[in-house]
């Protein structure tokens, strides 16, 4: 796998005297690890790509982080990244191009970025109201989750895509 002198790239964390600006990878996203989550590492990577696709950080044609770069920055086993990319290929979301890397093939986001921003703004306004009414974070999550469930139950199955985990990500 040929690639540039992209060193280990911990975003700030000293060690390399901040020598990484040019070495930024070609991918629009960078992986992170939640070691306390109990979710297997390869699944965390898969979820992060799906999440980025939903939120529009990634679009078809974009390159996923190179295996070498992901491995160097997270200090994880290379086979873990390969397993995640294979899973994304199986799902039809990504495709590997020999000698180049893995690229996004499909999208999960149903609306364009500007629309997402508008929706986010109105949600933030609502959150302000809820906060002013005295709801704390747990209360807001509980209310939102139950309203979400009601909404889709009333509307019927279509439009409800996925499983509990896409719902969780929607809330987060």
């Amino acid at each position: 796998m040929a690639d540039g002198p992209a060193g280990a790239t911990p975003p700030d964390a000293g060690g390399g005297d901040g020598d990484t600006p040019l070495a930024r990878s070609a991918s629009p996203i960078e992986f992170r690890l939640d070691t306390a989550s109990g979710v297997p590492t390869y699944l965390q990577l898969v979820h992060q790509v799906e999440h980025a696709l939903r939120l529009g950080y990634l679009k078809p044609g974009d390159q996923l982080p190179k295996v070498r770069d992901a491995v160097a920055s997270l200090a994880i086993n290379p086979n873990t990244v390969l397993k995640a990319y294979k899973e994304l290929e199986t799902k039809g979301l990504a495709v590997g191009r020999p000698g180049q890397g893995t690229f996004v093939q499909a999208t999960l986001s149903q609306v364009a970025l500007p629309e997402l921003a508008t929706l986010r703004r109105s949600l933030l306004a609502w959150l302000g109201t809820a906060d002013a009414a005295g709801l704390d974070e747990d209360g807001i999550v509980a209310l939102f989750t139950s309203a979400l469930r009601d909404f889709f139950e009333r509307r019927g199955a279509p439009g409800r895509r996925g499983t509990s985990d896409s719902q969780k990500e929607g809330v987060a």
């Binding site: 060193g7 060690g15 390399g16 070498r68 770069d69 160097a72």
Partner: protein, 305 residues
């Protein structure tokens, strides 16, 4: 191909066997972790594999059948011993020169590029570098030999968290780029989960568990249920380690796979690498070699709370 393969391997120091009748095969293309208590024989095994020691009994081959210590084996293996040994009075540049002269193959360009990236000044004496930098210099020297197998003995022992992360990042990136295999011994269990995809658990000079991490995890689970039934369950299932309080018991058991039925009234939880390793370390008599077989008939001892 196996990067390390031993059969009936034994090493005696004086009247003590550091390793005895040790048979293991480590397949290529993995980052394999060698885990075990102090004095289990890990360092002895690594020294035998890289050709620094000669076996008292049996044989060890590396890189698909080359006898350990033979010229072909030495060319293909790089080894970083415990505490990153360097000539402390030599500047980094001289260490590069020296290592280059002592080895048939040495990639000076690679070494200089890495050191520049790491911000290690070429003129500074090795002994004046920080602990993390010394480890990275030793690793750079090893990787610049472009080995097919990198052997590391307790590479993380004296490094702070950031240095550990960067050190392993560099090892794993080299593995990803060149398809290099890695065998390392480590006490840092928490990091093994992310780093290693092959596990060899050594205890008392013997292999206790060996296999791919994913497979080992799939073949073990923790059952939680009423302590009163624990004894009955232990008769039917292969219990590695049991923890029992007055009412509740946790049993780490071997299973045929995730689909195995759970006893009624019990909950099944997946195990982590750390949990698995600790359970076996506490039960030196339990073994999960190729099949689910126990070496000794002894029931696992129970830790009461």
């Amino acid at each position: 191909m196996n990067v390390i393969e031993t059969s009936g391997l034994g090493k005696r120091y004086g009247s003590t066997w550091a390793l005895r009748n040790f048979t293991v095969a480590v397949p290529a293309g993995h980052v394999a972790a060698l885990v075990g208590p102090n004095g289990a024989g890990k360092t002895t095994l690594l020294n035998l594999a890289v050709g620094l020691a000669r076996p008292t009994a049996g044989a060890v081959n590396v890189l698909g059948g080359e006898p350990a210590g033979s010229p072909a084996a030495l060319d293909g293996i790089a080894f970083v011993a415990q505490d990153a040994p360097l000539y402390k009075n030599l500047p980094a540049a001289d260490m590069l020169q020296l290592t280059g002269n002592l080895n048939r193959r040495f990639d000076h360009g690679y070494a200089q590029e890495r050191l520049a990236e790491l911000g290690i000044p070429l003129k500074r004496r090795a002994g004046k570098l920080s602990g993390g930098q010394q480890a990275q210099l030793a690793l750079t020297l090893a990787l610049a030999r472009r080995p097919r197998l990198l052997v590391l003995d307790e590479p993380l022992a004296n490094l702070d968290p950031l240095a550990r992360h960067d050190f392993m990042g560099m090892v794993l990136a080299a593995a990803a780029e060149d398809g290099m295999s890695v065998v390392l011994s480590s006490h840092v269990l928490a990091e093994l989960e992310r780093v290693a995809d092959y596990l060899i658990l050594v205890s008392g000079g013997r292999v206790q568990v060996a296999g791919e991490v994913d497979e080992l995890l799939a073949r073990h689970r923790v059952l939680t249920g009423p302590a009163a039934e624990a004894g009955r369950i232990a008769q039917r299932l292969s219990v590695v380690h049991a923890r029992r309080a007055e009412a509740q018991a946790h049993l780490l058991v071997r299973t045929g796979g995730p689909g195995d039925p759970v006893p009624p009234g019990w909950e099944a939880h997946p195990v982590s690498v750390e949990e698995l390793v600790l359970a076996y370390l506490r039960e030196p008599g339990a073994a999960a070699l190729p099949g689910p077989a126990r070496t000794q008939k002894a029931e696992p001892t129970e830790v009461s709370r």
